[in-house]
Symmetry: C2
Subunit: 344 residues, 2 copies
Amino acid sequence: MTSPYGLHRVLEPAGVLPQQAWRLDASPGCGADEVVVDVERLNLDAASFRQLRERHGTGAALRRAVLDIVAERGKLQNPVTGSGGMLLGVVRAVGPASPLGLRVGQRIATLVSLTLTPLRITDGLAAWDGTTEQAPCAGTAVLFGRSVAAVLPADLPDELALSVLDVCGAPALTDRLVRRRAAEGRPVGSVLVLGGGGKSGSLSLAAARRAGASRVVALVPTPGEAARVQTSGLADEVVLADARDPVAVLAAVGRPVDLTVVCVDVPGCEHGAILATAEGGTVVFFSMATSFPAAALGAEGLAADVELLVGNGYVPGHAAFALELVRSEPAVRALFDHRQTAQA
Amino acid sequence: MTSPYGLHRVLEPAGVLPQQAWRLDASPGCGADEVVVDVERLNLDAASFRQLRERHGTGAALRRAVLDIVAERGKLQNPVTGSGGMLLGVVRAVGPASPLGLRVGQRIATLVSLTLTPLRITDGLAAWDGTTEQAPCAGTAVLFGRSVAAVLPADLPDELALSVLDVCGAPALTDRLVRRRAAEGRPVGSVLVLGGGGKSGSLSLAAARRAGASRVVALVPTPGEAARVQTSGLADEVVLADARDPVAVLAAVGRPVDLTVVCVDVPGCEHGAILATAEGGTVVFFSMATSFPAAALGAEGLAADVELLVGNGYVPGHAAFALELVRSEPAVRALFDHRQTAQA
């Protein structure tokens, strides 16, 4: 019996979920509700890649470190950071009971973390020089009944599609929250995006406006980024402040907003987000650098009656929604292209 | 000019909020929107007390450690744990512009953390032997315009009132969430409380049923606690499982619920809470041991479309609501009394 959560693939310790497991069974036989993928590329999570590079440099030592993790654990979960990444590949086999709707031969990206994805590497990562987190890779991976994968669109470059899919939860949840307020008969009003010039930030700006927000504010850290977001037209107001400085954030935003979306991947943005949000409003945190106690105690200490949401990266339809935003909003695509050029 | 957030009391570093500050001005002069309190007792946060005791033992060394922190920082914020606690005292002065509605002579408990409350100690903590986190204390504390304090009820023992006030956010938010679902026309349905036998847990059970939940489930870790909750009648079902074991939690709960309230103060309860919650449902985390990445990545990894809420300890009216539950629900009071006896 296979489990939709992949419990049958857990080798050690017994009885835990694949993400908590130390070691998974990564053999490429396809269970009844599983999908097996021929891997083309691994996309290491930024935190994991940084740690591994600082420890092992680039080249052979870094390759060896990743190979050792995968050989030992049956998945690419960095034991220091606990994080993983995603992968890109081609569907090799689809079990008769798989609910994912995939077909053999489709090129896909996994939207569940590598921390829970059974993985076997067969090429020694020979084609990876270790200078970026994008590792060309031959091998196999397994998806469960409850996994999530997106078919890669034919009309967008892989790099762009992957970088959109990586953050596709943020615009989908922003869309839902703005629409929910409208459906509840509360004024839709204003949305603030901390880090509005980034990937998840620019998508969230576009999603907020489409969903009907009447005042969309982007907060960014540098004049250069402010100019780019201003030019994009994605926000009604672009303000400049350090998101870690609550007093500066409040001053920059002025009138508090109904919904604040935190897309800044640095610690210490909780209080600014809370201060900038009106009573009865909502803050949604998409940054993995968010501190749970800082958010909870911060709101309490400020006597702020705001709803604080953990940004759940899974919203049904999120991948298609984000890809459609990039296709139809040239300004979003321009910001993504700029970031990729700047990184390269 | 005084700031409702207490910015005018921040000495170092300049421009941050009192909670982030290293040092506050704790002088007992009463600003226009401030309230000054004659302190009777400090209630150290459990994590802070544990750290201080492990480091300094009881008696003079422990007293000295606390006095040094307060002398240096102008507040009782443990530099190692970052946490504080609350205090009990009598209102000495009320500024003309204070919005808190307090009167001179009222006995109050502060519901904002000691980590942001200007505090001066004048008796050397001479009456505290350091064996419990309740420290008799003479001195002064300052409340800001946006602070929160509760007048201590005359009809309940201090110990009981303090221990209720300490967790009063959980039942108030549970009440709001259950009622909101009803108002939205979604079936009110089922509520699961992880740690249903504890303080915030038993209050949340009572709040859920009052708000109209038709199936209230308590999950507890031991047969003894299960028997007590069963006897209390606060839950329709009492189930036994380790909240850190997602697979066991799901098996124990059976049919997933609409709302899961996490009141278990140990790490690792995120995945069980998510698995036990139905699609479209809500999880609210009240435990400070909650890991933000574990919650966010857990939901994503399980492809769980659930709303994840950080348990904001501030909900308007929370103190009065929780005290009223204890007064009117003998079963809740019995569970509180049992815990206090068991601790003593």
